[in-house]
Protein backbone atom coordinates (compact mmCIF):
# COMPACT_ATOMS: atom_id res chain seq x y z
CA UNK A 1 0.00 0.00 0.00
CA UNK A 2 3.00 2.34 0.08
CA UNK A 3 2.93 5.30 -2.25
CA UNK A 4 5.09 5.68 -5.31
CA UNK A 5 5.76 9.26 -4.19
CA UNK A 6 7.82 8.19 -1.17
CA UNK A 7 11.13 8.20 -3.07
CA UNK A 8 11.84 9.91 -6.39
CA UNK A 9 14.10 8.20 -8.91
CA UNK A 10 16.39 11.20 -9.39
CA UNK A 11 15.96 13.51 -6.39
CA UNK A 12 19.13 15.55 -7.01
CA UNK A 13 17.71 17.01 -10.21
CA UNK A 14 14.41 18.12 -8.68
CA UNK A 15 13.21 21.36 -7.11
CA UNK A 16 12.55 21.06 -3.41
CA UNK A 17 9.74 22.68 -1.42
CA UNK A 18 10.21 22.51 2.33
CA UNK A 19 7.28 23.20 4.66
CA UNK A 20 8.35 23.52 8.25
CA UNK A 21 5.05 23.54 10.12
CA UNK A 22 6.61 23.73 13.49
CA UNK A 23 9.98 23.66 15.02
CA UNK A 24 10.65 23.11 18.66
CA UNK A 25 13.72 23.14 20.74
CA UNK A 26 14.16 19.41 20.76
CA UNK A 27 13.56 18.92 17.06
CA UNK A 28 11.02 19.76 14.45
CA UNK A 29 8.59 18.52 11.87
CA UNK A 30 8.71 19.42 8.21
CA UNK A 31 7.33 18.41 4.85
CA UNK A 32 9.53 18.21 1.77
CA UNK A 33 8.14 18.13 -1.76
CA UNK A 34 10.31 17.56 -4.82
CA UNK A 35 9.11 18.98 -8.14
CA UNK A 36 10.50 18.51 -11.63
CA UNK A 37 11.03 21.34 -14.11
CA UNK A 38 7.34 21.25 -15.07
CA UNK A 39 6.27 21.45 -11.42
CA UNK A 40 5.10 17.86 -11.36
CA UNK A 41 5.29 16.30 -7.91
CA UNK A 42 7.91 13.54 -7.72
CA UNK A 43 8.45 13.00 -4.02
CA UNK A 44 6.62 13.97 -0.81
CA UNK A 45 7.80 13.22 2.70
CA UNK A 46 6.69 14.20 6.19
CA UNK A 47 9.59 14.26 8.61
CA UNK A 48 8.89 14.33 12.33
CA UNK A 49 11.53 14.03 14.97
CA UNK A 50 10.61 11.37 17.47
CA UNK A 51 10.88 11.59 21.25
CA UNK A 52 14.53 11.61 22.16
CA UNK A 53 16.27 11.37 25.46
CA UNK A 54 13.31 9.93 27.28
CA UNK A 55 15.00 6.73 28.34
CA UNK A 56 17.88 8.67 29.86
CA UNK A 57 15.40 11.01 31.51
CA UNK A 58 13.74 8.23 33.45
CA UNK A 59 16.67 5.88 34.03
CA UNK A 60 17.44 5.44 37.69
CA UNK A 61 14.24 7.12 38.86
CA UNK A 62 11.96 5.32 41.31
CA UNK A 63 9.10 3.84 39.33
CA UNK A 64 6.45 5.66 41.35
CA UNK A 65 7.76 9.00 40.07
CA UNK A 66 7.24 8.07 36.42
CA UNK A 67 3.51 8.92 36.04
CA UNK A 68 4.29 12.46 37.17
CA UNK A 69 7.53 12.83 35.22
CA UNK A 70 6.11 11.69 31.89
CA UNK A 71 3.69 14.60 31.90
CA UNK A 72 6.69 16.72 31.04
CA UNK A 73 7.11 14.93 27.73
CA UNK A 74 4.15 16.56 26.10
CA UNK A 75 2.54 19.84 26.91
CA UNK A 76 -0.62 19.13 24.95
CA UNK A 77 -1.67 15.74 26.30
CA UNK A 78 0.21 15.23 29.59
CA UNK A 79 -2.80 13.43 31.06
CA UNK A 80 -2.58 10.71 28.43
CA UNK A 81 1.06 10.07 29.29
CA UNK A 82 0.24 10.23 33.00
CA UNK A 83 -2.44 7.56 32.64
CA UNK A 84 -0.55 5.32 30.21
CA UNK A 85 2.43 5.30 32.57
CA UNK A 86 0.22 4.57 35.58
CA UNK A 87 -1.37 1.68 33.70
CA UNK A 88 2.04 0.25 32.85
CA UNK A 89 3.14 0.53 36.46
CA UNK A 90 -0.07 -1.13 37.64
CA UNK A 91 1.44 -4.26 36.11
CA UNK A 92 4.73 -3.66 37.90
CA UNK A 93 3.01 -3.48 41.29
CA UNK A 94 0.76 -6.43 40.44
CA UNK A 95 -2.46 -4.40 40.37
CA UNK A 96 -4.31 -6.55 37.87
CA UNK A 97 -7.74 -5.25 38.83
CA UNK A 98 -8.15 -1.68 40.03
CA UNK A 99 -10.77 -0.76 42.59
CA UNK A 100 -13.99 0.62 41.08
CA UNK A 101 -13.14 4.05 42.45
CA UNK A 102 -9.65 4.08 40.96
CA UNK A 103 -10.86 2.82 37.60
CA UNK A 104 -13.66 5.36 37.36
CA UNK A 105 -11.70 8.35 38.60
CA UNK A 106 -9.02 7.58 36.02
CA UNK A 107 -11.65 7.21 33.34
CA UNK A 108 -13.15 10.55 34.31
CA UNK A 109 -9.72 12.16 34.04
CA UNK A 110 -9.18 10.55 30.64
CA UNK A 111 -12.49 11.64 29.20
CA UNK A 112 -11.85 15.15 30.47
CA UNK A 113 -8.60 15.08 28.51
CA UNK A 114 -10.26 13.74 25.34
CA UNK A 115 -13.00 16.36 25.59
CA UNK A 116 -10.69 19.33 25.98
CA UNK A 117 -8.27 18.12 23.30
CA UNK A 118 -10.93 17.33 20.70
CA UNK A 119 -12.71 20.63 21.39
CA UNK A 120 -9.51 22.57 20.90
CA UNK A 121 -8.76 20.75 17.69
CA UNK A 122 -12.10 21.20 16.03
CA UNK A 123 -13.25 24.57 17.27
CA UNK A 124 -9.96 26.36 17.28
CA UNK A 125 -7.71 24.73 14.72
CA UNK A 126 -9.73 23.11 11.98
CA UNK A 127 -12.91 25.12 11.85
CA UNK A 128 -11.44 28.02 9.83
CA UNK A 129 -10.46 25.65 7.00
CA UNK A 130 -13.70 23.75 7.14
CA UNK A 131 -16.04 26.71 7.39
CA UNK A 132 -14.34 29.00 4.89
CA UNK A 133 -12.57 26.64 2.49
CA UNK A 134 -8.96 25.55 2.21
CA UNK A 135 -7.87 28.22 -0.21
CA UNK A 136 -10.13 31.01 0.95
CA UNK A 137 -8.67 34.39 1.83
CA UNK A 138 -5.91 33.70 4.33
CA UNK A 139 -6.76 36.90 6.17
CA UNK A 140 -10.18 35.46 6.94
CA UNK A 141 -9.20 31.81 7.29
CA UNK A 142 -8.41 31.92 10.98
CA UNK A 143 -10.22 31.81 14.28
CA UNK A 144 -10.89 35.55 14.15
CA UNK A 145 -12.81 35.00 10.96
CA UNK A 146 -14.74 32.18 12.61
CA UNK A 147 -15.49 34.37 15.61
CA UNK A 148 -16.80 37.10 13.36
CA UNK A 149 -19.18 34.87 11.41
CA UNK A 150 -19.81 32.11 13.95
CA UNK A 151 -19.35 33.73 17.37
CA UNK A 152 -21.03 30.92 19.30
CA UNK A 153 -18.72 28.30 17.86
CA UNK A 154 -15.60 30.24 18.81
CA UNK A 155 -16.85 30.80 22.36
CA UNK A 156 -18.04 27.23 22.87
CA UNK A 157 -14.63 25.92 21.88
CA UNK A 158 -12.97 27.86 24.67
CA UNK A 159 -15.59 26.95 27.27
CA UNK A 160 -15.58 23.24 26.36
CA UNK A 161 -11.84 23.29 26.68
CA UNK A 162 -12.11 24.88 30.13
CA UNK A 163 -14.68 22.32 31.25
CA UNK A 164 -12.34 19.47 30.26
CA UNK A 165 -9.57 21.17 32.22
CA UNK A 166 -11.81 21.36 35.26
CA UNK A 167 -12.51 17.62 35.05
CA UNK A 168 -8.75 17.08 34.93
CA UNK A 169 -8.17 19.40 37.89
CA UNK A 170 -10.77 17.63 40.00
CA UNK A 171 -9.42 14.15 39.24
CA UNK A 172 -5.68 14.82 38.95
CA UNK A 173 -5.49 17.21 41.88
CA UNK A 174 -4.11 20.11 39.90
CA UNK A 175 -4.74 21.83 36.60
CA UNK A 176 -1.26 20.84 35.42
CA UNK A 177 1.35 18.43 36.76
CA UNK A 178 -1.41 16.40 38.41
CA UNK A 179 -0.61 13.41 40.54
CA UNK A 180 -3.98 11.68 40.62
CA UNK A 181 -3.02 8.35 39.06
CA UNK A 182 -0.43 6.31 40.94
CA UNK A 183 0.78 2.74 40.41
CA UNK A 184 -2.08 0.57 41.57
CA UNK A 185 -4.80 3.21 41.64
CA UNK A 186 -5.40 6.87 42.44
CA UNK A 187 -4.49 9.09 45.36
CA UNK A 188 -7.79 10.91 45.59
CA UNK A 189 -11.44 10.41 44.86
CA UNK A 190 -13.92 13.03 43.67
CA UNK A 191 -15.65 14.81 46.53
CA UNK A 192 -19.42 15.32 46.35
CA UNK A 193 -18.86 19.08 46.16
CA UNK A 194 -16.50 18.67 43.18
CA UNK A 195 -18.96 16.32 41.50
CA UNK A 196 -21.86 18.74 41.98
CA UNK A 197 -19.88 21.61 40.54
CA UNK A 198 -19.18 19.64 37.35
CA UNK A 199 -22.77 18.41 37.16
CA UNK A 200 -23.97 22.00 36.91
CA UNK A 201 -22.41 22.28 33.48
CA UNK A 202 -22.42 18.80 32.00
CA UNK A 203 -25.80 19.02 30.28
CA UNK A 204 -24.81 22.25 28.57
CA UNK A 205 -21.57 20.57 27.53
CA UNK A 206 -23.42 17.62 26.04
CA UNK A 207 -25.68 20.00 24.16
CA UNK A 208 -22.74 21.80 22.64
CA UNK A 209 -21.07 18.49 21.76
CA UNK A 210 -24.22 17.28 20.00
CA UNK A 211 -24.26 20.49 17.99
CA UNK A 212 -20.59 20.02 17.15
CA UNK A 213 -21.27 16.58 15.67
CA UNK A 214 -24.06 18.05 13.58
CA UNK A 215 -21.77 20.78 12.32
CA UNK A 216 -18.95 18.38 11.39
CA UNK A 217 -21.43 16.06 9.69
CA UNK A 218 -23.13 18.89 7.85
CA UNK A 219 -19.82 20.16 6.54
CA UNK A 220 -18.92 16.69 5.27
CA UNK A 221 -22.28 15.97 3.69
CA UNK A 222 -22.60 19.38 2.09
CA UNK A 223 -19.49 18.81 0.03
CA UNK A 224 -19.24 15.05 -0.25
CA UNK A 225 -17.11 15.07 -3.37
CA UNK A 226 -14.36 17.07 -1.72
CA UNK A 227 -14.59 15.56 1.74
CA UNK A 228 -14.61 11.98 0.53
CA UNK A 229 -11.67 12.37 -1.82
CA UNK A 230 -9.37 14.87 -0.15
CA UNK A 231 -6.25 13.03 1.00
CA UNK A 232 -8.21 9.78 1.03
CA UNK A 233 -6.37 6.48 1.04
CA UNK A 234 -7.20 2.95 2.12
CA UNK A 235 -5.42 1.41 5.07
CA UNK A 236 -5.76 -0.91 8.02
CA UNK A 237 -7.23 0.48 11.25
CA UNK A 238 -6.10 -0.20 14.81
CA UNK A 239 -7.33 0.73 18.29
CA UNK A 240 -8.26 -0.59 21.68
CA UNK A 241 -11.82 -1.87 22.04
CA UNK A 242 -13.67 -3.05 25.13
CA UNK A 243 -13.94 -6.82 25.72
CA UNK A 244 -17.49 -6.69 24.33
CA UNK A 245 -16.33 -4.85 21.21
CA UNK A 246 -17.61 -1.48 22.36
CA UNK A 247 -15.75 1.81 22.20
CA UNK A 248 -13.45 2.23 25.18
CA UNK A 249 -10.77 4.87 25.03
CA UNK A 250 -9.31 4.01 28.43
CA UNK A 251 -8.81 0.29 28.47
CA UNK A 252 -9.38 -2.82 26.42
CA UNK A 253 -7.80 -5.18 23.93
CA UNK A 254 -6.14 -4.42 20.63
CA UNK A 255 -8.16 -4.91 17.48
CA UNK A 256 -7.07 -4.31 13.87
CA UNK A 257 -9.20 -4.31 10.77
CA UNK A 258 -8.14 -4.35 7.13
CA UNK A 259 -9.18 -1.69 4.66
CA UNK A 260 -12.41 -3.57 3.90
CA UNK A 261 -13.34 -3.84 7.56
CA UNK A 262 -12.30 -7.47 8.02
CA UNK A 263 -10.66 -8.45 11.29
CA UNK A 264 -6.86 -8.87 11.19
CA UNK A 265 -6.50 -9.51 14.90
CA UNK A 266 -8.81 -9.10 17.87
CA UNK A 267 -8.92 -9.52 21.64
CA UNK A 268 -5.16 -9.06 21.84
CA UNK A 269 -3.74 -8.49 25.31
CA UNK A 270 -1.69 -5.35 24.84
CA UNK A 271 0.92 -6.41 27.38
CA UNK A 272 2.58 -8.33 24.52
CA UNK A 273 1.95 -5.78 21.79
CA UNK A 274 5.29 -6.55 20.14
CA UNK A 275 4.01 -9.96 19.05
CA UNK A 276 1.58 -8.15 16.74
CA UNK A 277 3.08 -4.81 15.80
CA UNK A 278 6.65 -3.88 15.08
CA UNK A 279 8.49 -0.87 13.70
CA UNK A 280 10.53 -0.21 10.59
CA UNK A 281 13.32 2.34 10.29
CA UNK A 282 13.65 4.26 7.04
CA UNK A 283 16.81 6.19 6.24
CA UNK A 284 15.08 9.47 5.43
CA UNK A 285 12.98 9.76 8.60
CA UNK A 286 13.83 10.12 12.28
CA UNK A 287 10.47 8.62 13.18
CA UNK A 288 9.87 4.88 12.88
CA UNK A 289 7.08 3.29 10.84
CA UNK A 290 5.01 0.75 12.81
CA UNK A 291 3.22 -2.06 11.02
CA UNK A 292 1.24 -5.20 11.73
CA UNK A 293 3.82 -7.94 11.94
CA UNK A 294 1.77 -10.62 10.19
CA UNK A 295 1.22 -8.42 7.11
CA UNK A 296 4.74 -7.04 6.71
CA UNK A 297 5.88 -3.45 6.33
CA UNK A 298 4.39 -2.76 2.89
CA UNK A 299 0.87 -3.93 3.66
CA UNK A 300 0.75 -3.77 7.43
CA UNK A 301 0.71 -0.06 8.26
CA UNK A 302 -2.43 1.39 9.71
CA UNK A 303 -4.35 4.43 10.90
CA UNK A 304 -5.06 5.17 14.55
CA UNK A 305 -7.15 7.86 16.18
CA UNK A 306 -10.81 8.87 15.89
CA UNK A 307 -11.39 7.60 12.35
CA UNK A 308 -10.02 4.18 13.28
CA UNK A 309 -11.73 3.99 16.66
CA UNK A 310 -15.23 4.94 15.58
CA UNK A 311 -15.12 2.23 12.92
CA UNK A 312 -13.16 -0.38 14.80
CA UNK A 313 -15.66 -0.73 17.62
CA UNK A 314 -18.97 -2.58 17.29
CA UNK A 315 -21.00 -0.10 19.31
CA UNK A 316 -20.78 2.87 21.65
CA UNK A 317 -22.29 2.60 25.10
CA UNK A 318 -23.70 6.13 25.29
CA UNK A 319 -26.92 6.81 23.40
CA UNK A 320 -26.29 10.05 21.51
CA UNK A 321 -22.81 9.02 20.39
CA UNK A 322 -24.07 5.57 19.37
CA UNK A 323 -26.74 7.11 17.17
CA UNK A 324 -24.08 9.23 15.52
CA UNK A 325 -21.74 6.25 15.11
CA UNK A 326 -24.48 4.31 13.33
CA UNK A 327 -25.08 7.19 10.95
CA UNK A 328 -21.36 7.42 10.28
CA UNK A 329 -21.08 3.70 9.56
CA UNK A 330 -24.15 3.84 7.32
CA UNK A 331 -22.48 6.63 5.40
CA UNK A 332 -19.76 4.11 4.44
CA UNK A 333 -22.38 1.81 2.88
CA UNK A 334 -20.78 -1.34 4.20
CA UNK A 335 -17.18 -0.25 3.72
CA UNK A 336 -14.96 1.64 6.16
CA UNK A 337 -14.75 5.37 5.55
CA UNK A 338 -11.16 6.22 4.65
CA UNK A 339 -11.57 9.92 3.94
CA UNK A 340 -8.93 11.91 5.80
CA UNK A 341 -11.39 14.73 6.41
CA UNK A 342 -13.78 12.26 8.05
CA UNK A 343 -11.38 12.37 11.00
CA UNK A 344 -13.19 15.57 12.00
CA UNK A 345 -16.63 13.97 11.96
CA UNK A 346 -15.35 10.94 13.88
CA UNK A 347 -13.53 13.20 16.33
CA UNK A 348 -16.76 15.00 17.15
CA UNK A 349 -18.53 11.68 17.75
CA UNK A 350 -15.81 10.93 20.27
CA UNK A 351 -16.22 14.38 21.75
CA UNK A 352 -19.87 13.57 22.36
CA UNK A 353 -19.01 10.12 23.71
CA UNK A 354 -16.57 11.72 26.14
CA UNK A 355 -19.13 14.24 27.37
CA UNK A 356 -21.76 11.53 27.84
CA UNK A 357 -19.23 9.31 29.61
CA UNK A 358 -18.33 12.16 31.96
CA UNK A 359 -22.01 12.59 32.77
CA UNK A 360 -22.43 8.89 33.53
CA UNK A 361 -19.33 8.82 35.71
CA UNK A 362 -20.45 11.91 37.62
CA UNK A 363 -23.65 10.07 38.48
CA UNK A 364 -21.72 7.01 39.67
CA UNK A 365 -21.19 6.91 43.44
CA UNK A 366 -17.98 4.93 42.98
CA UNK A 367 -16.06 8.07 41.99
CA UNK A 368 -16.39 9.24 45.59
CA UNK A 369 -15.38 5.95 47.18
CA UNK A 370 -12.47 5.51 49.56
CA UNK A 371 -10.90 2.28 48.31
CA UNK A 372 -8.21 3.78 46.12
CA UNK A 373 -5.22 1.46 45.69
CA UNK A 374 -4.46 -2.22 45.24
CA UNK A 375 -1.23 -4.16 44.80
CA UNK A 376 -0.17 -7.71 44.15
CA UNK A 377 2.79 -9.68 42.98
CA UNK A 378 5.66 -7.41 42.01
CA UNK A 379 6.85 -7.70 38.38
CA UNK A 380 9.80 -6.28 36.53
CA UNK A 381 7.97 -5.20 33.39
CA UNK A 382 4.82 -3.23 32.69
CA UNK A 383 2.96 -2.14 29.57
CA UNK A 384 0.23 0.47 29.57
CA UNK A 385 -1.89 1.30 26.53
CA UNK A 386 -4.50 4.00 26.26
CA UNK A 387 -6.39 5.66 23.42
CA UNK A 388 -5.03 9.20 23.64
CA UNK A 389 -6.82 11.98 21.73
CA UNK A 390 -4.75 11.35 18.60
CA UNK A 391 -4.66 7.57 18.84
CA UNK A 392 -3.11 4.56 20.53
CA UNK A 393 -0.40 5.38 23.06
CA UNK A 394 1.92 2.67 24.38
CA UNK A 395 4.16 2.98 27.45
CA UNK A 396 6.49 0.11 28.27
CA UNK A 397 8.86 0.06 31.27
CA UNK A 398 11.31 -2.28 32.91
CA UNK A 399 11.99 -1.76 36.62
CA UNK A 400 14.87 -3.38 38.53
CA UNK A 401 14.78 -4.98 41.97
CA UNK A 402 15.79 -1.67 43.54
CA UNK A 403 12.58 -0.11 42.20
CA UNK A 404 14.45 1.97 39.63
CA UNK A 405 13.29 2.33 36.05
CA UNK A 406 15.97 0.92 33.79
CA UNK A 407 14.31 0.90 30.37
CA UNK A 408 11.45 2.65 28.66
CA UNK A 409 9.83 2.42 25.26
CA UNK A 410 7.06 4.71 24.08
CA UNK A 411 5.08 4.43 20.86
CA UNK A 412 2.99 7.56 20.55
CA UNK A 413 -0.05 8.13 18.36
CA UNK A 414 1.86 10.18 15.84
CA UNK A 415 4.33 7.34 15.31
CA UNK A 416 1.47 4.92 14.62
CA UNK A 417 0.10 7.39 12.07
CA UNK A 418 3.46 8.13 10.45
CA UNK A 419 2.83 6.23 7.22
CA UNK A 420 -0.81 7.32 7.14
CA UNK A 421 0.07 11.00 7.35
CA UNK A 422 2.67 10.55 4.63
CA UNK A 423 0.07 8.89 2.45
CA UNK A 424 -2.43 11.69 3.04
CA UNK A 425 -0.09 14.47 2.02
CA UNK A 426 1.11 12.52 -1.03
CA UNK A 427 -2.46 12.17 -2.25
CA UNK A 428 -3.10 15.85 -1.65
CA UNK A 429 0.13 16.92 -3.32
CA UNK A 430 -0.56 14.82 -6.38
CA UNK A 431 -4.14 16.01 -6.68
CA UNK A 432 -3.77 19.72 -5.92
CA UNK A 433 -0.13 20.76 -6.36
CA UNK A 434 0.97 18.76 -9.38
CA UNK A 435 1.92 20.99 -12.32
CA UNK A 436 0.77 24.20 -10.63
CA UNK A 437 2.51 27.31 -9.40
CA UNK A 438 2.55 27.00 -5.64
CA UNK A 439 0.57 29.51 -3.63
CA UNK A 440 -0.23 29.82 0.05
CA UNK A 441 -3.71 28.49 -0.64
CA UNK A 442 -2.37 25.40 -2.39
CA UNK A 443 0.20 24.72 0.30
CA UNK A 444 -2.53 25.12 2.90
CA UNK A 445 -4.08 21.99 1.38
CA UNK A 446 -1.08 20.08 2.71
CA UNK A 447 -1.60 21.65 6.12
CA UNK A 448 -5.29 20.75 6.05
CA UNK A 449 -4.36 17.08 5.61
CA UNK A 450 -1.86 17.27 8.46
CA UNK A 451 -4.35 19.09 10.66
CA UNK A 452 -6.84 16.21 10.31
CA UNK A 453 -4.36 14.03 12.21
CA UNK A 454 -3.02 16.85 14.41
CA UNK A 455 0.33 15.15 14.95
CA UNK A 456 2.00 15.52 18.30
CA UNK A 457 5.43 17.01 17.77
CA UNK A 458 6.63 16.54 21.31
CA UNK A 459 6.21 20.21 21.84
CA UNK A 460 6.62 20.13 25.59
CA UNK A 461 8.79 23.13 25.16
CA UNK A 462 7.99 25.99 22.91
CA UNK A 463 10.12 28.99 23.87
CA UNK A 464 9.40 32.29 22.20
CA UNK A 465 10.81 32.61 18.71
CA UNK A 466 10.86 28.88 18.10
CA UNK A 467 7.77 28.10 16.08
CA UNK A 468 7.82 29.65 12.65
CA UNK A 469 5.82 28.20 9.79
CA UNK A 470 8.14 28.43 6.88
CA UNK A 471 7.94 27.28 3.28
CA UNK A 472 10.89 27.41 0.92
CA UNK A 473 11.08 26.50 -2.74
CA UNK A 474 14.64 25.40 -3.46
CA UNK A 475 15.95 24.59 -6.92
CA UNK A 476 18.20 21.69 -7.81
CA UNK A 477 21.29 23.77 -7.05
CA UNK A 478 20.02 24.47 -3.54
CA UNK A 479 19.13 28.11 -4.22
CA UNK A 480 16.03 29.40 -2.50
CA UNK A 481 13.80 30.77 -5.26
CA UNK A 482 10.61 31.44 -3.30
CA UNK A 483 9.55 31.75 0.34
CA UNK A 484 6.33 31.84 2.31
CA UNK A 485 6.43 32.57 6.02
CA UNK A 486 3.80 32.86 8.70
CA UNK A 487 4.40 32.83 12.38
CA UNK A 488 2.35 30.85 14.86
CA UNK A 489 4.13 31.95 18.01
CA UNK A 490 5.24 35.45 17.41
CA UNK A 491 5.41 37.67 20.41
Amino acid sequence: MSSELETAANPASLKRVVIEPLSRVEGHGKISILLDDDDHVRQVRLHIVEFRGFEKFIQGRPYWEIPVMVQRLCGICPVSHHLAAAKALDQVVGADQLTPTADKVRRLMHYGQILQSHALHFFHLSSPDLLFGFDSDVARRNIVGVAAEYPDIAKQGVLLRRFGQEVIRVTAGKRIHGTGAIPGGVNKAVTPAERDELLKDIYQVIGWCRAAVQLAKRLHLSNIGLYNSFGAFRSNLMSLVAPDGGMDLFHGNLRARDSNGGIIFDKIDYSRYWDHITEEVRPWSYMKFPYIRSLGADAGWYKVGPLARVQNCDHISTPFAEAERREFVDFGSGQPVHATLAYHWARMIELLFSAESIKELLHDADISGDDLVVSGERRERGVGVIEAPRGTLIHHYRVNEDDQAVRANLIVSTTHNNQAMNEAIRHVAKRYLDGRHLTEGLLNHIEVAIRAFDPCLSCATHALGKMPFHVELIDAEGECIDTLVKSSLER
Binding site: V25, I76, I143, V144, S487
Partner: protein, 157 residues
Protein backbone atom coordinates in the same frame (compact mmCIF):
# COMPACT_ATOMS: atom_id res chain seq x y z
CA UNK B 1 -17.29 25.91 37.66
CA UNK B 2 -19.88 27.69 35.61
CA UNK B 3 -19.67 27.88 31.85
CA UNK B 4 -19.80 31.62 31.83
CA UNK B 5 -17.08 33.99 30.76
CA UNK B 6 -17.65 36.32 33.71
CA UNK B 7 -14.95 37.39 36.16
CA UNK B 8 -14.86 35.63 39.51
CA UNK B 9 -15.46 37.83 42.56
CA UNK B 10 -12.41 38.96 44.54
CA UNK B 11 -10.05 38.49 41.63
CA UNK B 12 -6.48 39.82 41.96
CA UNK B 13 -6.04 42.72 39.51
CA UNK B 14 -2.67 41.48 38.29
CA UNK B 15 -1.99 38.04 36.83
CA UNK B 16 1.50 36.68 36.15
CA UNK B 17 1.65 33.55 33.98
CA UNK B 18 4.90 31.60 33.84
CA UNK B 19 5.14 29.41 30.76
CA UNK B 20 7.49 26.48 30.28
CA UNK B 21 8.47 22.92 31.03
CA UNK B 22 10.44 22.54 34.26
CA UNK B 23 12.22 19.47 32.89
CA UNK B 24 13.64 20.99 29.76
CA UNK B 25 16.61 23.08 30.80
CA UNK B 26 16.08 26.80 30.34
CA UNK B 27 12.45 26.28 29.42
CA UNK B 28 12.01 26.14 33.21
CA UNK B 29 12.46 29.92 33.37
CA UNK B 30 8.71 30.56 33.43
CA UNK B 31 7.76 28.08 36.18
CA UNK B 32 10.85 28.96 38.23
CA UNK B 33 9.91 32.63 38.06
CA UNK B 34 6.47 31.80 39.43
CA UNK B 35 8.00 29.71 42.20
CA UNK B 36 10.17 32.62 43.30
CA UNK B 37 7.39 35.18 43.01
CA UNK B 38 5.14 32.96 45.11
CA UNK B 39 7.63 33.15 47.96
CA UNK B 40 7.27 36.95 47.95
CA UNK B 41 3.49 36.87 48.41
CA UNK B 42 2.98 40.03 46.36
CA UNK B 43 -0.30 41.81 47.18
CA UNK B 44 -2.94 42.00 44.46
CA UNK B 45 -1.06 39.54 42.27
CA UNK B 46 -2.15 36.06 41.27
CA UNK B 47 0.35 33.57 39.88
CA UNK B 48 -0.22 30.81 37.34
CA UNK B 49 2.05 28.41 35.54
CA UNK B 50 1.57 26.04 32.63
CA UNK B 51 3.62 24.20 30.02
CA UNK B 52 2.28 26.38 27.26
CA UNK B 53 -0.47 28.82 26.53
CA UNK B 54 -3.82 27.64 25.25
CA UNK B 55 -7.20 29.19 24.52
CA UNK B 56 -8.57 28.57 28.00
CA UNK B 57 -5.98 30.92 29.46
CA UNK B 58 -8.06 33.68 27.93
CA UNK B 59 -10.58 33.02 30.71
CA UNK B 60 -7.90 33.60 33.35
CA UNK B 61 -7.45 37.13 32.01
CA UNK B 62 -11.04 38.25 32.50
CA UNK B 63 -11.39 40.93 35.14
CA UNK B 64 -7.65 41.69 35.35
CA UNK B 65 -6.09 45.10 35.10
CA UNK B 66 -2.73 43.76 33.97
CA UNK B 67 -1.22 40.47 32.87
CA UNK B 68 2.44 39.54 32.52
CA UNK B 69 3.54 36.48 30.53
CA UNK B 70 6.95 35.16 31.55
CA UNK B 71 8.58 32.83 29.05
CA UNK B 72 11.99 31.62 27.97
CA UNK B 73 13.25 33.31 24.84
CA UNK B 74 15.36 31.16 22.56
CA UNK B 75 16.57 33.87 20.24
CA UNK B 76 16.48 37.31 21.84
CA UNK B 77 19.50 39.42 22.78
CA UNK B 78 19.21 38.79 26.55
CA UNK B 79 19.31 39.02 29.42
CA UNK B 80 15.60 39.78 29.10
CA UNK B 81 13.06 41.88 27.29
CA UNK B 82 9.90 43.44 28.65
CA UNK B 83 7.45 44.52 25.99
CA UNK B 84 3.75 45.27 25.73
CA UNK B 85 1.73 42.81 23.67
CA UNK B 86 -1.49 43.30 21.75
CA UNK B 87 -4.00 40.78 20.37
CA UNK B 88 -3.13 38.90 17.18
CA UNK B 89 -4.72 35.86 15.58
CA UNK B 90 -3.20 32.40 15.74
CA UNK B 91 -2.07 31.22 12.31
CA UNK B 92 -0.24 27.99 12.98
CA UNK B 93 -0.84 24.53 11.59
CA UNK B 94 -1.29 22.53 14.80
CA UNK B 95 -2.92 22.92 18.19
CA UNK B 96 0.05 22.79 20.43
CA UNK B 97 0.64 26.25 21.76
CA UNK B 98 -0.50 29.83 21.46
CA UNK B 99 1.45 33.04 21.71
CA UNK B 100 0.51 35.64 24.34
CA UNK B 101 -0.89 37.74 21.50
CA UNK B 102 -3.15 34.88 20.41
CA UNK B 103 -4.41 34.38 23.97
CA UNK B 104 -5.34 38.07 24.07
CA UNK B 105 -7.13 37.62 20.79
CA UNK B 106 -9.04 34.66 22.23
CA UNK B 107 -9.91 36.84 25.22
CA UNK B 108 -11.66 39.26 22.92
CA UNK B 109 -13.69 36.42 21.46
CA UNK B 110 -14.99 35.10 24.75
CA UNK B 111 -15.42 38.24 26.79
CA UNK B 112 -16.76 41.73 26.45
CA UNK B 113 -14.66 42.79 29.45
CA UNK B 114 -11.94 45.42 28.96
CA UNK B 115 -8.69 43.98 27.66
CA UNK B 116 -6.03 44.03 30.41
CA UNK B 117 -2.73 45.75 29.82
CA UNK B 118 -0.45 42.89 28.79
CA UNK B 119 3.30 42.45 28.75
CA UNK B 120 5.73 39.72 27.83
CA UNK B 121 8.78 39.22 30.00
CA UNK B 122 11.03 37.23 27.67
CA UNK B 123 14.06 35.85 29.48
CA UNK B 124 16.86 34.58 27.30
CA UNK B 125 17.50 30.83 27.55
CA UNK B 126 20.07 28.70 25.79
CA UNK B 127 19.76 24.99 26.51
CA UNK B 128 16.39 23.22 26.22
CA UNK B 129 17.25 19.53 26.34
CA UNK B 130 14.97 17.12 28.15
CA UNK B 131 16.34 16.50 31.64
CA UNK B 132 18.80 19.41 31.57
CA UNK B 133 19.05 21.81 34.49
CA UNK B 134 18.70 25.58 34.21
CA UNK B 135 21.92 26.96 32.73
CA UNK B 136 24.00 29.40 34.78
CA UNK B 137 23.56 32.17 32.24
CA UNK B 138 19.81 31.71 32.13
CA UNK B 139 19.71 31.73 35.93
CA UNK B 140 21.50 35.08 35.95
CA UNK B 141 19.11 36.40 33.31
CA UNK B 142 16.17 35.29 35.43
CA UNK B 143 17.60 37.08 38.49
CA UNK B 144 17.85 40.30 36.51
CA UNK B 145 14.37 39.92 35.05
CA UNK B 146 12.74 39.27 38.41
CA UNK B 147 14.48 42.24 39.98
CA UNK B 148 12.83 44.44 37.40
CA UNK B 149 9.46 42.72 37.60
CA UNK B 150 9.20 42.76 41.39
CA UNK B 151 10.03 46.44 41.57
CA UNK B 152 7.30 47.03 39.02
CA UNK B 153 4.68 44.87 40.73
CA UNK B 154 5.52 46.07 44.21
CA UNK B 155 7.15 49.51 43.90
CA UNK B 156 7.52 49.93 47.66
CA UNK B 157 9.61 46.81 48.12
Amino acid sequence: MTLSPDPAPGLAPVLVIGIGNPSRGDDAIGPLAIERLAALDLPGTELLTDFQLQVEHALDLIGRREVVFIDADASGPGPFGFEPVIPAAYAGPITHALSPAAVLEAFQRVSAAPLPAAFVLAVRGYDFELGAALSDTAAANLDAALLMLVSRLNPGS
